[in-house]
């Protein structure tokens, strides 16, 4: 395909947290691939049993051939002082569970007793994902009020919020009794990662529209109108995300590799295209133009994020000039030229934005990658203990170059520690030197432990087997395992110190959320942020005929 021999980007460059924290949604994102996969499925609202205030039970489903997935929704009244996005909340406006198949009345009764309780309830192997959400009271009440008066809501207000409901967690893979992944992993339609979590959020979005229409109708049966579908389409589902996501990307190294590797493979293949088709360049330009309008709706009070957004805007102006003056399909390897120019002239935020955008014209490159984004993690769990210490030393020196140079005797290098809170069983990060609990630190200080491992092995007889080394050094066993994984999966490790004083935890969240396909990152601190999912996405009845670039739809 190419005589340029484009190489994969170096993990030591891509896997820096500052770079990972600059990733944007792309055609590889899970919510976009969910819609592509399920576009041919039959969508149905099977039950809608809500009272005049919108409280009650609803069931939505996707079905195809013999397979059926049902979202069971429970909406209830809560007092305003009970409404919280924090994990300390115990009540939510609505709770949701994705059931495998068609739920019986007995299933719905069982789920009604448990799903609204979330973490303290129990679900079964017949359930796949679990979530809860709170109303954006400001947007929700406004929409209900206007619809009941026969008017459409104020678009400006809705643009600022972007959704009617905000989820605060979406659980899957065996949590609280949910089905283990092994039970369902061979189903072709869910080969892509987090597909059932994406389905749940998508169907919740439909529930929010149906609920406002329903309440407005009851409020004023003669005058009420339904929410305009163009307005509905421009609403997504919000999400508040805290530190729970951060350990995930450390604890699932092969999965992380597969996500990043697919992105890097796509980039490499696109850069290797010798002759760029004019239509493909136009798709790129069109997405870029539309997306810039969307950027103006990314509102946040976070200085950190505003700095990133401003940097993106400034760089996009520079990029426009470059694109206008120097980019023509007559140029061989145009994408490669664009990439090289961008890497040289743009900051991380814009560079990764352009990388995401470059994928838009290329279904043929992206589609085959989607099914490679899951991982059979257990296959890589066993340590190849018959290898030699010298093998491990080479792996560490090749894959952790910058990590083994960190001086961990400095306080700043070990400033933070990660722990699990007893109250909510959720990950947290704290100052090691000011807070108690560091003795119960979680094994997420990978850089520090890798350095410790390196210092041990350089003092060990190099011809010893790993098995012999581990007999006397089981304190570093967890990172020995990681090192052998990174040897096979070079994008599996964050190339930064996740306990250093300069750690910005939301960079870790943003990485994961960008792969989900989230937009409008709105950090509320350095440890949690709000985002929007599915804004601009086709509505349930529109899925069969949709444009995959919906994410760039102009929000007006």
């Amino acid at each position: 395909m190419s005589d340029l021999n484009i190489k994969f980007r170096d993990p030591s460059e891509v896997m820096k947290l500052s770079r990972l924290g600059s990733f944007h949604q792309s055609k590889l994102s899970f919510l976009r691939s969910f819609i592509r996969e399920f576009k041919d499925w039959d969508y149905k609202r099977d039950l809608f049993d809500l009272d005049k205030n919108g409280y009650g039970t609803a069931v939505y489903s996707f079905s195809k051939n013999e397979r059926n997935y049902s979202l069971v929704c429970f909406a209830q009244h809560i007092n305003s002082e009970e409404r919280s996005d924090r994990v300390i909340a115990t009540k939510w406006d609505a709770a949701f569970v994705l059931h495998d198949g068609i739920p019986t009345k007995e299933d719905i009764r069982r789920l009604r007793d448990n799903v609204p309780k979330q973490e303290v309830g129990r679900v079964s192997y017949k359930e796949l994902t679990l979530s809860r959400a709170n109303k954006s009271v400001r947007a929700f009440d406004h929409v209900v009020e206007y619809l009941s008066l026969g008017k459409q809501p104020d678009k400006n207000l809705l643009n600022k919020v972007g959704y009617l409901y905000r989820t605060t967690a979406v659980y899957g893979s065996g949590k609280f009794g949910l089905a283990d992944r092994f039970r369902i992993k061979d189903r072709k339609e869910i080969y892509g990662p987090f597909r059932l979590e994406m389905m749940l959020v998508y169907l919740v979005r439909q529930f929010t529209f149906d609920q406002v229409n329903h309440i407005a109708k009851f409020k004023n049966p003669t005058k009420a109108v339904e929410l305009d579908i163009d307005i509905a389409r421009n609403l997504g589902i919000g999400n508040s995300t805290g530190l729970g996501m951060a350990p995930f990307i450390v604890n699932h190294p092969t999965l992380l590799h597969n996500w990043i590797f697919c992105r890097e493979k796509a980039l490499k293949e696109i850069r290797s295209i010798e002759k760029v088709n004019v239509n493909d360049l136009n798709i790129f330009k069109d997405c870029l133009i539309k997306s810039k309008v969307s950027i103006n709706t990314w509102l946040t009070d976070s200085d950190y994020q505003n700095h990133k957004i401003n940097s993106l805007k400034v760089d996009l102006t520079k990029f426009d000039q470059y694109l206008e003056k120097e980019c023509s399909v007559k140029k061989k390897y145009l994408w490669n030229s664009i990439y090289i120019w961008s890497a040289k002239n743009l900051k991380d935020e814009c560079l990764e934005y352009i990388v995401s955008m470059m994928m838009e014209p290329y279904d043929k490159i992206i589609d085959p990658l989607i099914n490679n984004m899951s991982s059979e993690e257990d296959e890589y769990f066993t340590i190849p203990a018959d290898k030699k210490v010298s093998d491990l030393k080479i792996i560490l020196e090749n894959n952790y170059k910058s990590i083994i140079k960190i001086d961990f005797s400095k306080k700043d290098s070990t400033f933070n520690f990660w722990f699990i809170s007893k109250n909510k069983e959720e990950p947290r990060v704290a100052n090691r030197y000011e807070e108690h609990g560091a003795e119960l630190e979680q094994p997420l200080a990978i850089a520090r432990d890798i350095k410790k491992l390196y210092e041990k092995i350089i003092k060990t007889k190099q011809t010893s087997s790993i098995a012999d080394f581990l007999l006397n050094n089981d304190d570093v066993r967890h990172v020995v395992r990681r090192a052998f994984i990174v040897d096979q999966f070079p994008y599996s490790e964050i190339q930064d110190n996740t306990i250093g004083a300069s750690l910005v935890p939301i960079d870790m969240l943003r990485l994961k959320l960008s792969f989900f396909g989230a937009v409008k990152f709105d950090p509320r601190s350095d440890k949690w942020l709000r985002i929007n999912m599915y804004q601009g996405a086709p509505l349930s009845h529109e899925m069969k005929n949709f444009n995959d670039t919906w994410v760039y739809n102009v929000i007006n």
């Binding site: 893979s173 065996g174 949590k175 009794g177 283990d180 203990a385 581990l470 089981d474």
Partner: protein
């Protein structure tokens, strides 16, 4: 019921709390998950064993030999070391451990070793025996109780890959399978495989 994911995570955390390193605790999580997957009493045995060692952590093994004796041996340390060294230990054919606590807990590590080596392994203690099949299943015989707190002697035998049937039995079943074949006529011989009449081209 608890999912296997919950069993894995909780076993891992409990084992760390009981004094094992994170790396060993990760192994325990997967091991208990596998025992439960195979229908064997993993959580029951781990729970009792972790209670037993909470006050005094067991000694680590220095090395695994053909015969391993101590006042009390830890099934976890023995199991993990066995797994790590299985390629070397295979040459010894039979390994014995004496005075091993909660011997059920060594099974999943031996089972994983069976997968790595591509060999079935037989484990025997008291009157019970377990045949581990490449970590795909564990066949058990004479399990009198779910909990054995101490096995005076465990023998672990690497089994050579061999048929479980006689040559005669194979011949008989093969002969029957031949009844699905078509006897080739001269015409079928020349046309059936799609080859030309000569390869001298």
């Amino acid at each position: 019921m608890q999912s296997l994911s919950e069993i894995d995570t909780t076993s891992k955390r409990a084992s760390k709390a009981a004094g094992f390193s994170w790396g060993i605790a990760e192994e325990i999580g997967k091991a208990i998950r596998n025992l439960e997957l195979f229908g064997l009493p993993g959580i029951i045995n781990l729970n009792l064993y972790l209670k037993k060692i909470k006050k005094k952590h067991p000694e680590k093994l220095k090395k695994i030999e053909k015969e391993n004796k101590n006042k009390e041996l830890c099934p976890i340390y023995c199991g993990v070391a066995f797994l790590d060294q299985c390629k070397h230990l295979e040459t010894l054919r039979t390994i014995k451990f004496y005075n091993i606590n909660y011997p059920m807990l060594i099974l999943p590590f031996v089972s994983k070793a069976s997968e790595i080596l591509g060999k079935k392994i037989l484990i025997q203690y008291n009157k019970s025996s377990f045949l581990v099949n490449f970590n795909k299943s564990i066949l058990s015989k004479n399990i009198e109780t779910q909990i054995v707190t101490l096995a005076n002697e465990i023998s672990i035998v690497f089994l050579e890959n061999k048929n479980s049937f006689s040559d005669q039995e194979w011949k008989e079943i093969y002969k029957l399978s031949e009844e699905t074949f078509v006897e080739e006529s001269e015409s079928l011989k020349t046309k059936g495989a799609g080859a030309g009449l000569t390869d001298n081209d």
